[in-house]
Assembly symmetry: C2
Homo-oligomer: 160 residues x 2
């Protein structure tokens, strides 16, 4: 089972692909879709859509795993985040993927062992769990963490 984790944002959208077929999840790919900040928002959103669409075509995941968002502090940031997030979910639904949503605290709990871990700890644990040579970029690490959370919760006990 291939899982695509996505960490959407209006500037940078992180992605992480893992293979959860075996006993332990294997790293496949990760990186960032970067938006040109001088482009109109509609074009940035199209860049996200096409980026996610290409990842789906390339890796044929069954599931898209994404962080659930609760109680964002700033309504204007929530709106922008929502725009990016909506496009990601739409691309997944179009390709008939299952969309799995996990609360940020649950992702951190799964990957780090504590619901309120710092970004660096997520990066560190993602590197360790997937045996990567170097620390993944922060947004890519969050995307990989979302994918790992689905891998763990879809076959309880399989990861940690």
């Amino acid at each position: 089972m291939i899982i695509l984790g996505i960490d959407p944002g209006s500037r940078i959208t992180g992605y992480g692909v893992i293979d959860a077929s075996g006993r332990r999840p294997q790293y496949v790919d990760s990186g960032c879709i970067r938006m040109k900040t001088d482009e109109p928002m509609a074009n940035r959103l199209l860049t996200i859509f096409q980026g996610v669409d290409q990842l789906i075509a390339l890796y044929r995941p069954e599931v898209l795993s994404i962080e659930e968002v609760f109680l964002h502090k700033n309504p204007q940031s929530a709106l922008k985040l929502g725009q990016a997030r909506g496009v990601v979910m739409c691309a997944a639904a179009m390709a008939e993927l299952i969309v799995a949503e996990y609360a940020a605290t649950r992702i951190k709990q799964t990957v780090v062992g504590r619901g309120h871990a710092a970004k660096e700890q997520v990066q560190h644990m993602v590197q360790s769990l997937l045996k990567l040579n170097r620390k993944p970029q922060a947004d890519a690490a969050d995307a990989l963490a979302a994918a790992l959370t689905h891998a763990f919760h879809s076959k309880l006990g399989g990861l940690v």
Copy 2:
């Protein structure tokens, strides 16, 4: 010039199509894309995307006109609205439409003559300006108002 106005929402997305080629804008179509509230959010967003995509294929608009959103009170609502809005803007960018955004106060100012008009007044003025037999549904009226605002501001003085 055909203008597609969209009023996005996570339950109902209103749309309104006008033809602004002549001296006065002509009504073409309006209505609502309704989401099944028992469906997962990703599928609802896909319904919006496909609905907007079909409208673009049918009417070949040059411009998509949409209300700009400022300072939403509730961050959770802002996120949901953002998701719907993102999908609409992405569909427009994919079809290479120009995306025009207008502040709510500017739309009301243009259509009703006052920046803080009630929903009913927008419906009433949209009906009057487009010579409709009956009052359009509220979300469709907002979408038509966004389209009319672009018609007006793209050829100053053409409408009011």
